[in-house]
């Protein structure tokens, strides 16, 4: 049984069918890159998996446990619990501008483990949990190479640094699968490297990741599997070697030819 099993996801906005039956699976520790032109539905797919959109049809499971099934409706609380299997790093970072890098990372874990906790916690337990969260945040800042930027506000950081804080923030919730929605598309070219390097290092930690990206070299060199999407369907699926060196579909060939075109 696969770690993540996505079955037949369909989604339309009004009369536009954005996803027309998406089925794929991935193993634990795998990095899956999703490539495709704008409007192919890759971001919508990621948003459906993260409960930011509700798929019209289909389901997905993690480790055999059903996380989402379009035939069921979920309460806000259920959604909140289920979406925590996934983390999401946004194209626009979406850091909270009023908080420091450190507070951006610790805010949500604190709310979840202290405020939203089902059992009553004593003051002592609370401060023990908070200490643990703070220590984890420091570790995370270190792992994205931003220890010395701990007390900086997002507006004082470069785009690449902001995105690295955003990655640390997502990791602080300990998701089973970390998703990236075009994590370098909003960055200046000279800043994409530092973000991609962090993602590649995470792979070394055996993290399961789904990366929607326009960075073909990244997909080629870092991903274990690549999905090429076009017009709401999976046009091509395979290892980077299979997809990039030996594409079967005409659409994939045309897309790759354009993407890898040297000017």
């Amino acid at each position: 049984m696969a770690f993540l099993d996505v079955k037949n996801i369909e989604k339309s906005f009004g009369k536009t069918d954005v996803l027309k039956g998406i089925t794929f699976s991935m193993e634990k520790g795998e990095v899956l890159a999703i490539i495709g032109s704008s409007g192919s539905g890759k971001t919508t797919l990621l948003r459906c998996i993260n409960f930011l959109e509700t798929a019209d049809k289909g389901s997905f499971t993690i480790n055999g446990e059903t996380i989402f099934d379009a035939q069921q409706s979920y309460s806000d609380k259920e959604k909140r619990e289920k979406r925590l299997h996934f983390g999401l790093v946004f194209q626009q970072f979406n850091l909270f501008p009023q908080y420091t890098a450190f507070r951006n990372i610790t805010l949500a874990p604190g709310l979840m483990r202290i405020k939203n906790s089902d059992k009553k916690l004593s003051a002592k337990e609370k401060s023990a949990i908070q200490d643990e969260i703070n220590n984890e945040a420091l570790q995370l800042l270190k792992s994205v190479g931003l220890t010395e930027k701990k007390d900086f506000y997002p507006c004082e950081l470069s785009g690449g640094q902001q995105q690295r804080v955003a990655i640390a923030r997502a990791l602080a919730m300990k998701p089973d699968i970390l998703c990236f929605d075009e994590p370098t598309s909003a960055l200046d070219p000279e800043l994409t490297g530092e973000v991609l390097r962090v993602i590649r290092e995470l792979k070394g930690d055996d993290r399961t990741m789904i990366v929607v990206t326009h960075e073909m070299n990244f997909a080629k060199n870092v991903a274990d599997k690549v999905i090429f999407m076009a017009d709401g369907v999976i046009e091509e699926y395979g290892t980077p070697a299979e997809v990039f060196e030996n594409p079967k579909s005409e659409k994939t060939k045309a897309f790759l030819a354009k993407s890898l075109e040297k000017i």
């Binding site: 993260n50 409960f51 930011l52 806000d76 909140r80 619990e81 979406r83 925590l84 996934f86 983390g87 999401l88 946004f90 626009q92 979406n94 850091l95 909270f96 501008p97 009023q98 805010l107 949500a108 709310l111 979840m112 405020k115 939203n116 506000y153 997002p154 507006c155 923030r169 997502a170 919730m173």
Partner: protein, 215 residues
């Protein structure tokens, strides 16, 4: 009448002005937020009702509303009239809540959608997203337009005299009428200027304090 005597009488009236200003502000700030939630509700009838109410309040003169709150209950239902000051305060609170609510709404809608989405994927509840993420950013953004409304409120208090509440402007008019001297009416301007000057300084200070980050 000496300058000093006039000053004392006007200061008396200005006390009423400040009271009206303070109570209106303290009550209308939170009430406006509740109206905002109504006008942004996903439940259509409620949204429609609130929007119509805001339209009526913003579409009619505050002076008329003061008159209506004071005389309306008696004329329509034969109820005893509210005390004059209470009637003015009620009308002011309703009026200003509606204006505030629109400023709040503009502030909330100006926050990028990604802020809420980031909160959602981090497992926050709706209330936590509002109070921990949105509220502060909204406050920072609405200080300038709020400052406008607050300064307008200082001067709008002069409408209270339409139902014979003796705020500072009516106090001056009374002196003008009784003593046949005209200058106290202009002297009133100094009271308004002084107070709105202090408020401007406070608002500037708040803006500066909130400016520790961009965005």
């Amino acid at each position: 009448m000496s300058f000093w005597e006039v000053t004392v009488q006007l200061a008396d009236g200005f006390g009423v002005t400040l009271l009206l200003f303070g109570i209106t502000l303290v009550c209308a700030l939170p009430l406006g937020l509740i109206i905002t939630l109504g006008s942004m509700s996903k439940f259509k009838p409620l949204r429609w009702l609130v929007k119509t109410f805001v339209w009526i309040i913003r579409g009619t003169p505050l002076m008329l509303q003061v008159i209506l709150v004071f005389y309306g209950p008696g004329l329509l239902f034969d109820w005893p009239a509210l005390p004059r000051m209470t009637a003015v305060i009620v009308a002011f609170i309703i009026n200003y809540s509606c204006y505030f609510s629109e400023i709040y709404r503009a502030g909330i809608e100006s926050i990028p959608k990604g802020q809420g989405e980031a909160g959602q994927v981090l497992g926050m509840t709706k209330a936590q997203i509002f109070f921990k993420i949105y509220l502060f950013q909204v406050i920072k953004r609405i200080v300038p337009p709020m400052g406008n409304e607050i300064i307008t409120l200082v001067k709008d208090t002069s409408l209270a005299r339409v139902i014979a509440v003796t705020e500072v402007l009516k106090a001056a008019q009374d002196i003008v009428g009784l003593k046949s001297i005209i200058w106290p009416i202009f002297y009133v301007g100094a009271f308004y200027l002084l107070f709105s000057g202090i408020l401007t300084l406070l608002l500037n200070y708040a803006e500066k304090k909130l400016n520790y980050y961009n965005g």
